[in-house]
Amino acid sequence: MREPTIQRAIKYICLIILMIFTLFPFLWLINTTFKTNEAMFASIPTWWIEDITFEHYTWAFSGKGIELFGLLKNSIIVCFITALTTALVASVSGYGLARYVVPGMSFIVALLVLGQMIQGPLIMIPWYKFASAFSLLDSKTALVLIYNTMTIPVGVWIMSGFFKVIPKELEEAAYIDGASKLRTLFGVMLPMAIPGLVAISLYSFILGWNDYQYSLILTSTLDSKTVQVGIAELMGSLGSQNWGGLMASGVIAIIPIIVLFSLIQKFLIEGLTAGGIKG
């Protein structure tokens, strides 16, 4: 049955409206960064750019506002280690959750679900206290530890979903061949779940990269401060004086996320929807 043309037209018009609504703020952001200051503060804002300028990007990298390179380096290191540790815990415990029914399982599941709620302001004050007691204030270690509280619960959850769909026969065959349980996990199961593992790692990286609240309370200098806090501080100190430089820094800080997301989009969507529906 062919769709009538009118119906098709309406469908695509709705799609265009949705896409404009979703994307115009980003387009406006990018548009602004290539405008000269005069054009940016013109009495009537336009999308058309008379003369394209790269001055805002040069300013962003110049270190006049924030040490963008240093901040980016911190973010990359912290998020990379967070991704690795989360992947490790998620593959081991996710496998346990998927395959081993132990007494007290519903309690463990409850911990996992509650763990996703116990975030941010609810645990901030003790975390600051611990970090200061262990001399971890303003260290990358503290950030990695706290970022894992965001990423491990969801990581384990999604990973167990990926393990569940692997046929049980594969494990049984491995046991018959004499493989130990650990060998079965790392030699047989994990290679099968690589797409899931990659998705979790990159998702953890994204979550860490986007964090603002934890880095805000736990870091203070270039030793560990992340790019988000840097930009927020710039926003606070500059106010509306240098929108161009601020927005150019914003574009630079958002690009890694868009790239990573486009890589894992398919797996991530699968993992998230499967987890969500199971509740």
Partner: protein
Amino acid sequence: MVKTFLRKYGFGYALLAPVVIYLVAFQFYPLFETIRISFYDYSLISGNKMTFAGLDNYERLFNSDRNFWTIMFNSVIWVFGSTILQFMLAVPAALILSQKLRARGLWRGLMMVPWVSPVIIVGLIWKWIYDGHNGLLNHYLTDINLISENIIWLGDEFWVWPALLLTSAWKGFPYITLMLMAGLTGISKDMTEAAHIDGANAWKRFLHITIPLLKPIIYVTGIITIIATWTKFEMIWALTNGGPGFTTSILPTYVYTNAFVYFDFGYGSAVATLSMLFVLIFALIYAKMFGKDNG
């Protein structure tokens, strides 16, 4: 006895141990610590030692804090306003993106971009759009003659709320859309087609077939959204810092203000504890109201 138990379940526990230990050490223990500190007089500024204070912090919060009721009221508006608005955007978005479309995967991916973007950058973008002098929003609203004078969106006690809720809904709706789309693929074509033949129009089909079948997903996603909106203070902090004054302060931002602006950890912990109680109550009321037939 123990031996057979260990042989049977030991490996399973060993696998699950890392996540359980991590959760207990770094989330549950801090949570109890928050509750404990809330009963102490513990301010970094005063320089005094941490001393037990019983319910003093709570008494101060309920009886002598002039901002308290504003903040409670704001918290309710924020959580429900944002969640409802997110659904109002997500339902049509999910219906559109579930249609047969060219390059549908691409549109679905693009729709997710606000959701994966860092909240600080999102705040930055919208601050620029809401700007009182050069903002895009004022410009467009003037163009269509809806307003005659520029509005300082984030500096106005009334307009700051619609602005804040719109941004939060814009950032959050893709997740709900994603969940609803997953639910829509599960609804059989036969059912809607049968209804179509029976003469039910699109609106009726939507109301009587699609929505009831989506209810379990709406229920679960709603609770996830409420909690996610509640436990993060970042969006408000990025856009308004809780201001002007305390107009957009909610319990979570008030935790931050007290603990890390005034460095009163005891009082901040009391606000945090209350905040936790409230998210539990919200979740329970929600479950009672909508969870009856979804188990």
